[in-house]
Symmetry: C2
């Protein structure tokens, strides 16, 4: 019996305890796969039958958007009970994915302190230190005794949220200004009765507004599992774990890949509602069809040439498609180098130069291949010459655009992952059609002779 | 002055100490960007002038393939001095990226124990527990005293490799069979004079052969920063950090994105040699041009229809390109769900069904759009009907293939990230051309009338 069937059976049997124990025992990927087999109603029923703690585990394991979709169907008080069991960073992610009024309704049912903290976390940019940090940490004033610090850490030692953060942060009593950090081992090895003031060490902190790309550098340099996050007045507001930064980067890379393939507005799982999925994909496709029609209109203006040499119609899609492929390779390398931070928009000229050299080599090779095929097919060397020249030049154009367009789009404030592909293929299609057909027009007597 | 210019100036000045200090202070992304401005010779000179420890820092920060390229140019003894400074997991990655004889030449210069360990690590599958683990950890027999364990951990506390692994593994004295783990806090809080046997706890271990996707589940479930790795006889061979698993997953996602865009055989940075870059891209493009020619040959067999209705040449690239886009969306969602473990090859039928429903909606909308454009342009409703039907049907075909082909390829043992795109576009191009032209042939009197 698969996990999905087992869940259905337990739902039928109405044995909430067993259902909770079973769901809590499933690894994330098995759980996700099982959820994708359940209908929307079954998932909601499952969530309501589970104890809040297990329901929270389930919510943590599914992507934020799907989590929000699940939470959305529950009464606000039941939703609040589940949300309250989530660690602070996950709480903020799920609430941020809900409609504002839904989120507010849930916040009403939370403990006022917790609600206030969640509101604060939601207000930060998701991919910044504030959006990624967690608010579960141990802090004490410098006058505290090492025994107090030991109690505080050991008392939380079963709290998974702290498993990785064996630090006591030393902050001023009232304004919580960050003074330093006492490492667990220093607290343990200290002379009994010492004050934290005596064992604490200076600590590097991160501003709550630091964006994700900078955070990577900070953690590479600091080589620590977690760093404290402070606001503009140096008051401590949270702890950022290195894991959370790596996770966020990996998430960002996946989303960019999806975007570049036309899945925009967040990720898609097939368990999401049909019309949401169709509508989101269609938003991008409808723009694309307009761009395609514009590009193909170039062909329409050369109808005379085409009807004289109908064989050209065979080569139009080949030239445009191959140039698109070459250009997409260049886009992929630029996006990769942008993510690694190896290049910035100011490097556009150097990138262009490095792409042009590759484009020239590949354009010549591909042009010769296609030209030879055309010559062999129709026995007309001029036809070969037309398609060879067009493909060679258009490859050069495609890699030049592909390598630099993400940099230009980024500079102009567009999302390069979404827009690079459509801009690239529209331009290379138009230019490819134009090259084949205008060269053919110029050599028309030779082609029809 | 930028980092790149500063490095060049320090190289000129021959001030090795300052150069070492400067390079060691740069964050990874700044260093990578600076390196990409240096010529191959300058990078090699830089590496040779740096102290081995700083050179190792630099090698750690660049992608493995580039690291191997840098190391490759050095005499084996100098290379060995740098390799010896790398943590064990990074050592294995760099050596694995070198030619076998180059790697062996370097291993000859290493301390025999270190060389043996490195050979062992290289022999594991890169994306498995063995390929990702590190061999720096503290282990002691059960008869050891807690004071010994404390010394061992505190003695290594400045060793960055251990920063995250505050565990002493308890293993049998001779065969190193894993018995349990003593957590730092339990060692500290134990009655002085206790033996590790008394404070150790049972520990979950990972088999050295566990593949990456399973490792994710293991860490999700265990929620610990690191787990011990054992061989088939339960002898401890290494420690796997959760960070290493997340890093490997993120790396895998990037490489898959690059592959899907035609950058195969590992990643490309523009600082790599020109002919390597051109050759690798060309390997994929040359296969693609053959597939393109095969697909376009469908057009050649309908020359009569095309010459009667030359306007069709405008719609051929639009139908094939739009179907390709719809199909690629489906491929992206399937690849995403495969990575998350939500679907497996056996789910192909369910995936097809879920794609077909989206494809039908989107095919109808896009077909109506394109059909209306064709009708408006030529004033012939039958032309509109031909292109609308062709695009609608081909969208359905494209999402059906796009959604399921990665599953089929995976089942057949191919890499879905590389092969899905070319298979998809070849089939949808052929089918798209065939649909437009055969429908037009059937309605020829209406189109020319």
């Amino acid at each position: 019996m698969t996990a999905w069937e087992a869940i259905l059976e337990l739902l039928e049997a109405d044995d909430d305890e067993l259902l909770g124990a079973y769901v809590g025992s499933l690894p994330a990927s098995v759980l996700l796969r099982a959820l994708s087999r359940l209908s929307h109603e079954e998932r909601e029923r499952l969530l309501r039958q589970l104890p809040a703690e297990t329901a929270a585990y389930l919510i943590e394991e599914v992507p934020d958007l799907q989590a929000a979709d699940l939470i959305d169907g529950l009464p606000a008080d039941e939703a609040a009970a589940i949300v309250s069991e989530l660690p602070s960073d996950e709480q903020a992610d799920v609430l941020a994915a809900l409609e504002a009024d839904e989120a507010e309704a849930i916040l009403e049912y939370l403990d006022p302190d917790e609600a206030e903290r969640a509101r604060q976390l939601i207000s930060y940019e998701p991919n910044s230190a504030g959006g990624l940090m967690m608010t579960e940490y141990v802090s004490l004033p410098p006058s505290a005794d090492v025994a107090e610090a030991l109690d505080a850490v050991v008392g939380h030692s079963n709290d998974y949220a702290l498993y990785n953060v064996q630090y006591t942060y030393v902050v001023t009593a009232r304004l919580k200004r960050l003074l330093g950090v006492a490492r667990f081992r220093d607290v343990v090895l200290a002379v009994p009765g010492s004050k934290l003031r005596a064992v604490m060490k200076p600590v590097q902190s991160i501003s709550v507004e630091t964006p994700l790309p900078e955070l990577t550098d900070v953690f590479e340099a600091a080589d620590l599992p977690a760093l404290p996050v402070v606001d503009s007045r140096n008051a401590m507001v949270g702890v950022l774990r290195r894991d959370a930064v790596i996770d966020a980067l990996s998430e960002k890379a996946s989303v960019e890949h999806l975007k570049s393939q036309g899945i925009i507005g967040g990720e898609e799982l097939r368990s999401m509602p049909l019309f949401t999925r169709a509508g989101r994909r269609l938003a991008w496709l409808s723009l694309n069809i307009v761009l395609n029609i514009i590009a193909a209109s170039v062909i329409a203006s050369f109808e005379d040439t085409l009807s004289s040499v109908i064989a050209l119609a065979v080569f139009l899609p080949i030239v445009s498609d191959m140039s698109g492929c070459s250009g997409n390779q260049a886009v992929a390398v630029t996006m990769r180098e942008l993510t690694l931070g190896v290049i910035k928009p100011v490097d556009a000229f150097r990138v262009w130069w490095q792409e042009a050299s590759v484009g020239l080599i590949n354009g010549i090779v591909l042009g010769l291949l296609l030209g030879a095929a055309a010559w062999a097919w129709k026995g007309n060397v001029y036809l070969g010459l037309v398609v060879a020249t067009a493909l060679c030049v258009n490859t050069l154009v495609a890699v030049s655009i592909g390598g630099t367009i993400p940099l230009l789009l980024k500079r102009l404030g567009f999302d390069p992952a979404v827009s690079s592909g459509p801009v690239l293929t529209t331009v290379t299609d138009m230019f490819g059609f134009f090259l084949v057909l205008s060269l053919a027009t110029a050599l028309l007597p030779r082609l029809t002779g």
